[in-house]
């Protein structure tokens, strides 16, 4: 549904942003047309993989089923989903994402190191929609 937000598989999985060739600003979700730095005259925006690891800026969860356009199966009971906002030091930015399945807020703390891993957003008979998840480092699925 959105093209080019991540790339690679397994240990090579990365979020994909863009970087301005003139001022080096980084954008995620990717900015493909205009550099948003007001002092930048504008440069080419080229894809750039973001850091694989970062630290928890904050976290929370969703104890109730989110409304559409989030896709869930109403036949199944809602399992609370944790969210992690992650500070990426080299990019000096915070990126929000769902926590990997099974990770609860009880296992999270501000400052904890996490890494980006591939995940499944949802799937039906024809399609599997992939996404990114944040997972504390040292935890394996």
């Amino acid at each position: 549904m959105v093209a080019g937000w991540f790339t690679g598989e397994g240990d090579d999985f990365r979020l994909l942003g863009t970087r301005c060739s003139a001022c080096a600003s980084v954008f995620f979700p990717r900015e493909d047309h205009h550099c948003r730095n007001p002092d930048c005259g504008g440069g080419e925006l080229a894809p750039v993989p973001l850091s694989r690891r970062g630290r928890v800026w904050s976290f929370t969860d969703s104890r109730y089923r989110p409304p559409s356009p989030y896709v869930t199966d109403p036949e199944l009971s809602w399992e609370p989903c944790a969210f992690i906002a992650v500070e990426l030091e080299p990019e000096r930015m915070v990126v929000l994402g769902q926590a990997a399945p099974g990770i609860t807020v009880a296992e999270l703390a501000v400052g904890l190191e996490v890494e980006v891993v591939p995940g499944v957003l949802h799937e039906d008979a024809e399609t599997t929609w992939t996404t990114w998840h944040w997972r504390p480092t040292g935890v394996t699925a």
């Binding site: 001022c23 980084v26 989110p66 559409s68 356009p69 969210f83 000096r92």
Partner: protein, 396 residues
Amino acid sequence: MTEEVAVLGAGMHPWGKWGRNFTEYGVAAARAALIDAGLEWRDIGAIIGADTVRGGYPGYVAGATFAKALGWQGARVTSVYAACASGAQAIEAARAQILAGLADVVLVVGADAAPKGFFRPAGGDRPDDPDWLRFRILGATNPVYFGLYARRRMALHGDTPDDFAQVKVKNSAMGALNPFARYRGRVTAEEVAGSAVVADPLRLLDICATSDGGAAVVLSSMEFARGHGQAEPVRIRAVSTVTPRYPNTVLDLPEIATDSAVAVDPPEETFRRSITRTAYEEAGIGPEDLSLAEVYDLSTALELQWYEDLGLCGEGEGVKLLRDGATALGGRIPVNVSGGLASFGEAVPAQAIAQVCELSWQLRGEAGDRQVVGARVGITANQGLFGHGSAVIAVR
């Protein structure tokens, strides 16, 4: 400093879940504001509406909808969309028209009939809309963001869930005194703690509801006010509608990520702080001059953040201010004496106007049991989707 405009009238439709068309709430509020101003609808030279979606119609409508319902009379019309700041931008547009000499007296109206449950984006596949994306890709509701801010405060400043609950206890006690509020019951800390967790660490009673409601004000030039027998009306002295500055490094609704600060250092102050500072500068006053504040308490934790962004206390000292009773009725600087969103719920285009209605009644000394004694200066503060924010300063 900008010239002042007069608030001649203020009116509201009670907040609640009434299940009627938003136009009804807006017209009721408008008629109440006109009566309060001692004016007829035919006296109004311009009408400005804060926008909402008209069910079944693919557009945002307001100004003309209210003008038609009140009876077409040829007034200049404007409609404004700025998410939660729509009402303040409508007031700003009215002020600009008055100060430019385009109109002497302007009616500003905001009303909405909010759906039940979580706010959600309009339908259809719209991947160019960041609001649609955060729901589709993350399922990140508004309370998810409120939860992130609350948890961040806990980590940085040592706030606790009980501190957050005390904001609800305070606001519900004041909302109980407001006939326009939806929730009129006092809430205890035990009741907050006993309500279901929505987005850790926030519980149902930490998070504001969605509501129906309407609010309106009649604004005029000072000359018109004096000619109308109002020698000393409530005046609007500042309206701040600034945008953030790049790089915005606080994760804001509805964004999935912040700006990167890799090329440009972050501004010295956050977006919320810049909203209120701009208002103070325009009004030529400071936080020490305030009699009261109406802030956007989407969550209890967010109200504490506003204390700091308003300069009522230093960073991280919001809880101390609350615990000292400074922000309660009778305290040094009462916050959300209307009951706030905690007691009203969100009727998005109406809320920033409703904040100004409360200031007007307080500054006139007409706020009944919730009156702040001797109120002379009040501020509102608000932040909404897509980089919108507002602050209004009114004086008497």
